[in-house]
Amino acid sequence: MAAEGGAKARDALDALTKVCGDVRPGEPEEGVLGVVPGVVAAPATSAEAAEVMRTAAELGLAVVPRGAETRLDWGAPPARCDVLVDTARLDQVVEHAAGDLVVTAEAGLDTGRLAEVLAERGQRLALDAPLPGSTVGGTIATAAAGPLRLLYGTPRDLVIGLTVIRADGRVARSGGKVVKNVAGYDLGRLFSGSYGTLGLIVEATFRLHPIPAAQAYITCDLTDATRAYEAVQAVLHSPAVPSAVEVVSSSQDGLTLGVLLEGVPEGVAARTEQVSALLGAAGTQVRTAQEPPEWWGAYPDGTTLIDVTAPPSALATLLEHRTEGVSLSWSAAGHGYLGLTPEADPAGTLARVREDLGGRHNGAAVVRYTPEAVRNEIDLWGPVPAFSLMRRVKEQFDPENRLSPGRFVGGL
């Protein structure tokens, strides 16, 4: 087996070297959840990336994309990894049409760098996904988003055009570079959160928003879960239009609530008063700052990260799961994370959360990362409605099962 694998890797290396300027053997420390790539290829252009994918198709190689590795440990390990396609050299801002509030960027571009470019024209991509250094492509592939999801949504809501390389090496585009567009299927949404299993994302076009002139972070500490829930509901149903409403807890009894308001200075000032009054009604001291508190938008600590999607009212249920070693962050949009220490019984906690959220709230809990030992004994994804449709779509895009095989739900 090993000798055969070595021969395959050598063939791959030879073939890929002919079509791509940066190809080398994979190193052990480059393993994707322990699966060491045979070859690492870093195409510099979409055309080169297409050649890499075409060559991989010809040789029947399994391909796993890699951005900045910030979320490479999410999901399941690939069943095979013959070629790791590193998008690091695909790092250009292709076009920033500031007048149209639209940007096109290559997949390997650092989102922080993108933000700098946009800020020069007073604009931003309203995705505050945690983990600095994440790439454009990786953010889309993992559907990562932060607190701003309450007002602006997740990558699916902001990607307006996407270019991918298919399993067979052909370049396919969907959407375009205008915000309003209903021509054809929206593959941007399909590829959001697809973990590299449908194709290689090489370029994306996003709708942008102006950077607000003023912002205010209003925070308060609470001990009572019911009060916290009621305070979140009060802000949510108020006309203050918060950009984000977050609840975090890192211990059994402490809860912190944070609201982000953005707009013109006069407006933010008036709305800060409104929101402060609502929070103050919970009988607690309210703080206001122009800068985010240090916990803002971070994943909760722990060696296991559980991603929870459920309606806003599920917060009350979720707060019941605060036990020793479990920290939590929750966006009032209906999405949150649980961070678990190894002592917190990840498998048991996961089972309890799924039971509570699944039945009462039609919610879902997905494990993003966890130690290998835990991973082997749990189902990372939980029940997947419409799985047979997903499998059939995967079979269409990747009939030979070579794109990040096994990384995704149900072994896709």
Partner: protein, 485 residues
């Protein structure tokens, strides 16, 4: 209904749904021969009016077994022929599935059946201070199921987004006849994301969970009159450039103003070459500040008259002309085509000059109405249907306008959808591979190609043998009847 297969299906549907829910006589069937786009007509082979997901699933299974195509239809208001029936197929009409099942304010959502009318969702949510944000101009009659199929927008989608951004989950009947749920944010692929806007080609939605949006604290609307479209365009750029995202920015040119005046006597400032309607909404303190800014920017761009709506009645008056514009064009022209193209907003001057040139060259008049904030143009191409060849000339001009949009990096449709009307333009915007890739999704959902066939894509893709991985050469390819990708 000549075909024995259809007759057999009709009997089966009658057993499943009752005779009251099955229409099979030719006179009645013909009333379903088109949706809001009357230039494409086809009398359906059979019409059924189900009242539940289970009934739809049973019909779809029956169609799948018999190999009969089917098309779903809501209120029949689409403008691209997306619900054009098949003469050899079944039209599944959801107009009897119109219950609002739940209004869940704590979770800011509502659960509705597909036949529920868009505006009725907002009406039901209004007492709680909420509404359903997508507001296509047909919102008083279009169905939420249709909105899902078309990913409908509206004048206010500049700020609030489209249906895709306001649908949290859909229960659907798959082309296999299974009832399943697609939800946003759950584990697995975002099938909901691709289902919304797929124009009914991936299945039939039977229950929709929509997001409700808090009613804004304040709404402010102004009407600004400019000497020319260019001046109006400058104002739009200035407003966007100043970092504002108004709820809506709408523009009308002189010809469409003339039509609206003829129809509803909206009293827009005389002599205007263009009027701009700008609406801001949100927290009072924000809106107040920005509204002054909008007024200033309009004046700087050369607005010679600005009217600010003092109350809802005045706001309605400002919107009246804009909202009546399409129907009103009938007052200045015996017939017209409504086009729906999109351009990057900054290309507006160039594209309008191009449309002017096309109009001058062909002698075909074009009135322009736009969602100026997001570059969505609705050129109304006027012609006299009594005049020989006029319709063809109008069609040609209309097509060339789309070419202009594509040249400027835009789209062939911003909100009306592709349907049957524009599938032939798809290859101008997308490559063969692009279209093939989109159709992979369709092959995953509907390998037999029975669900609303002939829409969106100019040529169907061969789906191969599904499920299971394809091995070897497909028989049709071998026989030279098809090409495999």
């Amino acid at each position: 209904m000549e075909s024995p297969a259809l007759q057999a299906l009709a009997r089966r549907c009658e057993r499943l749904l009752g005779t009251e829910a099955v229409i099979s006589d030719p006179v009645r069937l013909r009333t379903y021969d088109c949706d809001g786009l009357t230039t494409h007509r086809a009398t359906p082979g059979l019409v059924v009016l189900p009242e539940s997901a289970e009934q739809i699933a049973a019909i779809v299974r029956a169609c799948a077994e018999a190999g009969i195509p089917y098309v779903a239809r809501g209120s029949g208001t689409g403008l691209s022929g997306g619900a054009l029936p098949r003469t050899d197929g079944v039209l599944i009409v959801t107009s009897r599935m119109r219950r609002i099942l739940e209004i869940d304010i704590a979770n800011r959502r509502a659960v509705v059946e597909p036949g529920v009318i868009n505006l009725d969702v907002s009406r039901a949510a209004r007492p709680y201070g909420y509404y359903f944000a997508p507001d296509p101009s047909s919102q008083q009659i279009c169905s939420v199921g249709g909105n899902v199929a078309e990913n409908s927008g509206g004048a206010h989608c500049l700020k609030y987004g489209f249906t895709a951004h306001h649908v949290l989950a859909c229960e659907i009947v798959t082309p296999d006849g299974e009832i399943t749920e697609l939800a946003a944010g759950g584990p697995g692929y975002d099938l909901l994301g691709v289902f919304v806007g797929a124009e009914g080609t991936l299945g039939i939605t039977t229950k929709i969970t929509v997001r409700l949006t808090r009613l804004p604290e304040t709404v402010q609307t102004l009407l600004a009159a400019f000497g020319s479209i260019e001046a109006g365009g400058t104002a739009v750029s200035a407003i966007i450039g100043a970092g504002m995202v108004p709820a809506a920015i709408e523009m009308m040119d002189a010809l469409s103003i003339e039509a609206a005046e003829a129809a509803v006597d909206c009293g827009y400032p005389p002599g205007a070459g263009a009027v701009l309607i700008v609406e801001l909404d949100g927290p009072a303190a924000e809106v107040e500040h920005q509204f002054g800014e909008v007024e200033r920017l309009c004046r700087e761009a050369g607005a010679f008259e600005i009217r600010v709506a003092a109350d809802d009645a005045e706001r309605a008056l400002i919107w009246k002309g804009r909202k009546s514009a399409f129907a009103a064009v009938g007052r200045i022209s015996p017939a017209y085509l409504v086009q729906d193209g999109v351009i990057p907003r900054t290309s507006l001057p160039g594209v309008l000059a191009g449309i002017d040139a096309l109009s001058a060259e062909s002698g075909v008049r074009v009135a322009n109405v736009f969602h100026a904030g997001d570059g969505n143009l609705h050129p109304l191409v006027l012609f006299d249907d009594a005049e020989h060849g006029a319709a063809e000339r109008a069609e040609e001009v209309s097509g060339k306008i789309l070419d202009l949009c594509i040249e400027h990096g835009g789209s062939i449709t911003g909100e009306h959808g592709v349907g049957v009307d524009k599938s032939r333009y798809m290859p101008r915007m997308f490559t063969e591979t692009d279209l093939d890739t989109m159709q992979m999704v369709r092959c995953g959902f509907d390998p037999a190609g029975l669900c609303n066939p002939g829409k969106v894509f100019p040529t169907p893709r061969l789906c191969g043998e599904v499920p299971g991985f394809r091995k070897g050469v497909h028989p049709l390819v071998e026989q030279g009847k098809a090409e495999q990708f």
